[in-house]
């Protein structure tokens, strides 16, 4: 029991994932700054932001709105992302605690943060937050189908295995899934899906600062917003790790493999940051069309190619 709590709150879970996620958030801002020929923020900037919101700023409750749910939503989002972080990170760090079917559970757990952001935005009673929430709902509806198809493709490729650790073991025997053409197609779709899940730029229309004043997070201040920031840091860490586990031959943190594993995570992460920096924000119709038509076609083509054995 104590061991499970340790997994959840400290080592691969909340504290550790948040710390690494904060550093990755710094890396994201630094790479963005370098792309724009700027100097960029100092290393500890994400932690300064988080601590400032947590310790210094006042938390404001909406006058017309469901105040309790407004405060509960970020906490539930944090717990959803932490549970996902534990399931994703345990096999990566070689702790054999996984269970049969964890990739299916992950699929549900990764929806919780988005759903809770939507619920919190609607509980705030702010019309612009409601616009943001409606955009986020449409975005979730469009990318979840692609995500389920990608996960289905991975399960097919791994010979009907629904155990994350087993999927990684199969890749270490037979070579990474990305080495086939169908694997490359699925990888591209997965990359855009996690871009949508994190809310990075082509798909950040739910929190567009200039149009709807940060949309879903508009009413959050102080501690509640700090928890949302922390959830975002965790997601920023675990989603690249998840893609690296699914496509790039799994992760292993022993000996020289540590270097390769870190490089794999950074490869996915840098690809995401570069997509973010070279694209403008899409309109909701464009984003839905992108996922519902083009990404789904890509994934289906990948699945067909897999059946043909390519």
């Amino acid at each position: 029991m104590a061991e499970q709590l340790l997994y959840f709150f400290i080592y691969p879970g909340m504290l550790f994932a948040g710390l690494i996620g904060g550093l990755m958030s710094w890396a994201d801002r630094k790479v963005t700054a370098r792309v724009q020929f700027r100097k960029g923020p100092p290393l500890l900037q994400p932690f300064y932001d988080f601590l400032k919101l947590l310790l210094v700023k006042e938390t404001i409750l909406p006058k017309k709105g469901a105040a309790i749910f407004f405060l509960l939503a970020p906490v539930l989002a944090l717990f959803g992302s932490t549970a996902a972080a534990v399931i994703i990170l345990l096999p990566a760090f070689g702790i054999h605690e996984g269970f049969q079917g964890d990739i299916i559970v992950l699929f549900y757990l990764l929806v919780i943060p988005s759903l809770m952001f939507i619920a919190g935005a609607l509980a705030s009673g702010n019309p612009l937050s409601a616009v943001g929430a409606s955009r986020e709902i449409k975005l979730v509806l469009s990318y979840e189908l692609t995500f389920i198809l990608v996960v289905a493709g991975i399960i097919l490729k791994a010979g009907q295995s629904i155990h994350l650790e087993h999927i990684m073991a199969i890749q270490q025997e037979q070579g990474a899934f990305i080495t086939s053409i169908s694997g490359i197609l699925l990888f591209i779709a997965a990359l855009f899906t996690i871009q949508g899940k994190i809310g990075f730029v082509p798909f950040d229309l739910a929190e567009a600062e200039t149009e709807i004043a940060e949309g879903v997070f508009m009413e959050y201040a102080g501690t509640a917003y700090a928890i949302i920031k922390y959830t975002k840091y965790i997601l920023l860490f675990i989603l690249p790790v998840f893609v690296a586990e699914m496509f790039l031959g799994g992760l292993e943190f022993t000996g020289i493999q540590i270097l390769w594993s870190i490089l794999k995570i950074l490869l996915v992460f840098v690809l995401m940051v570069l997509i973010r920096n070279t694209n403008p924000r899409l309109k909701i119709g464009q984003a839905m069309r992108f996922f519902l038509i083009w990404m789904n076609l890509l994934v289906i083509a990948g699945l067909v190619l897999h059946y043909l054995g390519i």
């Binding site: 801002r29 700054a33 724009q36 020929f37 700027r38 100097k39 960029g40 923020p41 100092p42 500890l44 900037q45 300064y48 932001d49 601590l51 400032k52 310790l55 210094v56 700023k57 006042e58 938390t59 404001i60 600062e209 200039t210 709807i212 004043a213 940060e214 997070f217 508009m218 009413e219 959050y220 201040a221 102080g222 917003y225």
Partner: protein, 137 residues
């Protein structure tokens, strides 16, 4: 210097309130946010919602219609929040000071922590003012 004031001064998030300005200050503020001046290296970030703001940057003359809105934005911002009056109009009213719709310079409506005079002030002046403000926290 405690942890609280240290983290606050390391991450000042700015919310821009534009009054009835001639747009020259707005353009200088946008200039300050361009890669050339790079405010992000000091942890300064422009935010879209007053709920997240640590600094309210007010420019332009405040007329009778702006007054209630400025008060509302100030009350909506999560405390502690610092107010910076930007430009001659923000500090004193400038050439609009004797207009019949003028409702007083910013510091007669809400407490102001820093003044940046100039018509318009240079982006360097804004950076210097924000740094001086951060060092007083």
């Amino acid at each position: 210097m405690g942890l609280k004031s240290f983290v606050l001064k390391k991450s000042l998030w700015v919310f821009h309130f534009g009054g009835a300005s001639c747009n020259n200050c707005d353009i200088e503020i946008l200039d300050c946010l361009t890669p050339r001046y790079d405010v992000e290296r000091f942890g300064i970030k422009l935010v879209g919602s007053p709920r997240h703001a640590d600094v309210l940057l007010v420019n332009g003359s405040i007329n009778k219609r702006d007054k209630s809105r400025l008060l509302e934005v100030y009350e909506q911002a999560a405390k502690p929040v610092y107010v910076v009056a930007f430009g001659a109009c923000g500090c004193t009213g400038g050439i609009f000071a004797e207009g019949n719709t003028f409702a007083g310079p910013v510091d007669t409506i809400i407490p102001v922590d820093a003044y940046i005079p100039g018509c318009p002030p240079k982006p360097e002046a804004m950076l210097s003012a924000l740094m001086k403000l951060a060092n007083t926290i």
